[in-house]
Symmetry: C2
Subunit: 410 residues, 2 copies
């Protein structure tokens, strides 16, 4: 049968943008893991930002109550109920929005894709603190734009909002700064002073600021929650990307938003949004219920992630020869392991290693770097499981390192 | 307040792709209509392909039954239940698929966007029969690719699967043929012979065939339902785009699919799909229930649209000086009106005209053409309302034409 297929054709070619893209380093090992899980191995998934926290019941209850007879298209910018719920939520941070400042998207991912397509021409450059959320590279490829890394290091706490560092990364083709606050994968959180540095730099060089703030409330140790939405003076160049995925543990809802007070920008995003017609209707009603939950829910979520962070950091940083900076926010930590190749180590953990029938997965960090030879022995851990499971997972990493080093004669 | 915003910046620039795009000619007048509707005017919406047919209850019942505590990401290619339901549905047409041949998308729209991004480089050209679904232009702009129209006319029944017509539109940069079968907006349906012509042409010039088949079952007058999935000999260059929106009257679910037996293509699409993580989980369960409905549902839907087509065509073609070809499929018809500017006429219908407190909307057809000076006095009507409402809507168009011509002194 298969020999029949394509017998007519010379090899069909794909676009350069897709040929140059990698498969997701976060999801790439899922198939391999599924095979082992089917055989009975229990694997702790720290590779993907999928929390085990229950989605607030308000979501599914609102969805279940939907009873229009026809499941219709909604407006391309989103249903008014959701827009208004988001406006209400932002008042928590004294950010005043109108409906016209918001366009609902299929998750933060689509928000980023629409924003990149709206502000970047092929060949334009976009500055991104490195290591970065790996899909920024994918969205850059898709737009045929170029990612310009702003290198950071564990030693200086992954700081990047520093004039000299930004200047070193700037080129004549730089059109935007894209950042993630709190940061995935480093956990770095920007202070108001940091944001001021970024805004002044953007103003000086006439750059857009694209701030992906999907981990907004996950800021620990009593530090202030910050959003570029607070930088009203620079509002015309600021674009926020938001999502319910992490904040409300609703990753499968795929509801996000582009938020900006720049009318022209929002018109551009709306043109693209009209092309894909709309975001699912039911999910928008559910998401509106989430945004109405209020600060108690958010505070409890923050406390839970802080205790997970504490457990994960304590255990991981105690593994011999592991270098790990304590993250101040989001729900990730980066760790440098005493091995040479994190991908090979991960494959070993999935297919060869086990302790009492259990193993663990993380995201190899090489895909979070553009600078050559960086990240090969680094990993990103998502502390999305409860503290007990995080401790167990860290122990599995420790035992795995020992077994791997022995096997490799390291 | 507003004067404060952006006081720091020189004008921020948008990308050329977005600047060159138009707002949706289908959705563009919605705001204006909403204003009049708020004042009490009843407007029949024939501008958008939003059927009034009830969404099968299986959808919402399946969604309501979902009771996982955490609404998680699904795999980027879709949940197995939905993939298997689609495999089952395609057996109706003797098309044999595996899970690897299918990637679930956010509606047919995202399917088209992913496919364009996977096969087209900036500057590549794509042949599209004209008039076309207006968003093909949007997706082309987004990919920075160029749409090459294959002009068709009402006089020859909007036929385009003709070697000479295809050859006339071919350029050295043509990489793909993108068609819609049955066609939006013309209603043209391809026969097996037509598909053979297209396949042979694509083979000769090594082109991809992207076939958007979201109206598949809406084929009238006893003609055969066709899909490029039947052209097994050419499978390696064929890419199907599918969706639940029209077939199951579930536009707000936003569930579609890319379907192809070309493994390399599917790997490329998967890379892009991984970037946006996944499609909403709940909607996928609901859509799986729809694909399992079977042929009885589909036959009934076809009969209903055929009677609407009959009502709409009879009334519209009887309006004096209106030229209108009887459509063989989909749920649209094109009509040339005895006016000079369909956009201006539409604005008149919404804001000035009424008959017993009612008016009507359609899509002005200029946006469905790339060839200059075409479509200005043409409109697309979606026969998505029941026959009685279609007759009333057609009457409103007739009365509207009379009133408009009188006002304009035509």
């Amino acid at each position: 049968m298969h020999e029949l297929i394509g017998k007519d054709s010379i090899k069909m070619r794909l676009s350069d943008r897709v040929s140059s893209m990698q498969f997701s380093p976060i999801r790439g090992f899922n198939k391999l893991a599924a095979k082992e899980e089917a055989k009975g191995k229990k694997i702790y998934h720290l590779n993907i930002g999928q929390p085990d926290i229950e989605t607030p019941k308000a979501f599914i209850e609102t969805v279940r109550a939907y009873d229009d007879k026809v499941l219709s298209y909604s407006e391309s910018n989103g249903i008014p109920q959701l827009l208004d719920a988001i406006i209400g939520y932002y008042k928590l941070y004294d950010v005043n929005l109108t409906r016209d400042n918001i366009i609902i998207t299929n998750g933060g991912s689509e928000a980023l894709k629409l924003v990149f397509a709206t502000v970047l021409n092929p060949g334009d450059e976009i500055m991104v603190p490195e290591p970065y959320y790996t899909n920024y590279i994918s969205f850059g490829c898709e737009t045929v734009a170029v990612i310009n890394p702003v290198p950071t290091t564990a030693e200086d706490g992954y700081a990047w909002a520093v004039k000299e560092k930004l200047e070193a990364a700037l080129t004549p083709d730089t059109k935007a700064i894209c950042c993630n606050n709190p940061n995935n994968p480093t956990g770095r959180v920007l202070s108001r002073e940091d944001m001021k540095v970024v805004c002044e730099f953007a103003k000086e060089h006439n750059l857009w600021i694209i701030s992906d703030e999907v981990y907004r409330e996950f800021v620990f140790d009593g530090e202030e929650i910050t959003t570029f939405g607070m930088m009203e003076e620079y509002a015309d160049r600021i674009i926020l990307v938001d999502s319910v995925s992490k904040r409300y543990s609703a990753c499968g809802a795929r509801i996000g938003a582009v938020i900006s007070k720049n009318e022209e920008l929002m018109d551009g995003v709306l043109k693209l949004a009209q092309g894909r017609l709309c975001v699912p209707t039911l999910e928008q009603y559910g998401a509106a219920a989430l945004f109405r939950l209020g600060p108690d829910y958010l505070n409890e979520a923050r406390r839970e992630y802080e205790s997970r962070r504490d457990a994960a950091y304590e255990e991981i940083s105690n593994i011999p020869n592991v270098i790990c900076e304590k993250p101040g926010g989001s729900f990730y930590l980066m760790a440098k392991l005493p091995i040479d190749d994190a991908e090979d180590f991960l494959r070993f953990l999935i297919t060869e290693f086990e302790d009492e029938g259990e193993s663990v997965m993380f995201a190899p960090a090489e895909g979070f770097y553009k600078t050559p030879n960086k990240g090969k022995n680094e990993i990103r851990i998502a502390y999305v499981l409860n503290s007990e499971k995080m401790r167990r997972s860290a122990k599995l990493i420790r035992l795995g390192i020992e077994a791997y080093r022995e096997k490799k004669g390291l």
